[in-house]
Amino acid sequence: MSKLIHMAEAVAKITDGMTIMVGGFMGCGNAHHLVQAIIDAGRTDLTLIANDAAMPGYGIAKLVEQRRLRKLITSHVGLNPQVGIQMNAGDLEVELVPQGTLVERIRSGGAGLGGVLTPTGLGTPVADGKSVVTVEGRDYLLEKPLRADVALVNGYRVDPFGNVWYRGDARNFNPVMATAADLVIVEADHLVELGDIPPEDVVTPGVFVDYIVAGGDLQ
């Protein structure tokens, strides 16, 4: 059974107001075609969980530029000036999370954990309102798990079962996000046959994946 569906079917599974996770780092590893299709379909009022807001005109930056976001949970927005403009105008809520904390919150969400204890952020504004837990004499912040309604993952080679192999550092947040959403859609740069990805080289096993869309070459 193939999990491959048409782009329009994938977009129909995403509705206004949902929380979505999108893998990628400054646009590298974004599910570019899915993001564009969501925009074209008029989806809005979304909460986006992503490492950053990418760069103008590229990848998930377009979700900000087209004002499709209500909230952004992210570690860095410095290369996308639109975020600051909308944030200062009160149009976009932004929760800044240290990158290593963001990844562990997502991992917790996908791994059935109640959160993670990290020394990162102690003594900074990140600690505001959070519990401090002392373990063996050292203080840690309790950071709670993050999950999404939908995760949009970008893989370079994807087989019909949804096994994924990533190219270069487009991998980044994609594998962990594939574990932490109710619905996981993988955009495949290249669709391959079962067995084309040796089992040893599968990074995200297909059991995490609900649907696959064909992305094709990036623009």
Partner: protein, 222 residues
């Protein structure tokens, strides 16, 4: 007085000095901007492995490994490359390396550093809110934190008794390298270890809002 170095020369002067802090075999994360100049000044017999938050061990020049800039970027999102023998890793592993004490040194810039080794480099409320990215994890997790920066910002001291901007982390900075000198952060405050030979101790202190102790073995910074 200040140094006679122009901006470019000044940054290279700082980067050259920082390069001498790195040891052969070190696993190092470099922040954006000035710190990226450091590798070109490493002696020929010092080889370091560079970590990039985005998910690289062994970042560096070997473009033939993957020449497609859409799939290999650096921490600033710019096209990058990985060395032969390098590894692409996911973000969980990348921050396991960073937070877990596996990185020997990180070199990064600062908006402010204070006498207790507190660092502020991620936000100027109301003016600049880029986010912290991986910086908070890096300075908490790296074995050695080296701040490489210009000594002042438009003539105003950046090395203060106490940071006034929101912190990146507390008690995290080990060494400050600027165009004016090299300053070690210790339990009793800041100690000037090396000084730009163009300057006097009084010059450096005048540009530094925090009190500086002067090392009994103060030497010229070269």
């Amino acid at each position: 007085m200040t140094t006679t170095l122009d901006r470019t020369t000044l940054k290279e002067f700082i980067a050259r000095r920082v390069a001498r802090e790195l040891r052969d075999g070190d696993f190092v994360n470099l922040g954006i901007g000035l710190p990226t100049l450091v590798p070109q000044f490493l002696p020929a017999d010092v080889h370091v492995t560079l970590q990039a938050e985005v998910g690289m061990v062994g970042a560096g020049s070997c473009p033939e490994v993957d020449p497609d800039p859409r799939y290999v970027v650096d921490a600033g999102g710019k096209p990058a490359s990985i060395r032969l023998g390098g590894a692409f890793i996911d973000s969980v592993t990348s921050f396991t390396l960073i937070r877990g004490g596996h990185v020997d040194a990180t070199v990064l810039g600062a908006l402010q550093v204070d006498a207790a080794g507190n660092l502020a480099n991620w936000i100027i409320p109301g003016r600049m809110v880029p986010g912290m990215g991986g910086a908070m994890d890096l300075v908490v997790g790296a074995k050695r934190v080296i701040v490489a920066m210009e000594h002042t910002q438009r003539g105003e001291p950046k090395i203060l008794p106490t940071c006034t901007l929101p912190l990146t982390a507390v008690h995290c900075v080990d060494l400050i390298v600027t165009e004016m000198g090299v300053i070690q952060v210790g339990p009793d405050g800041l100690e000037l270890l090396e000084i730009n030979p163009e300057l006097t101790v009084a010059d450096v202190q005048a540009a530094t809002a925090a009190p500086l102790a002067v090392s009994p073995s103060l030497v010229a910074m070269v």
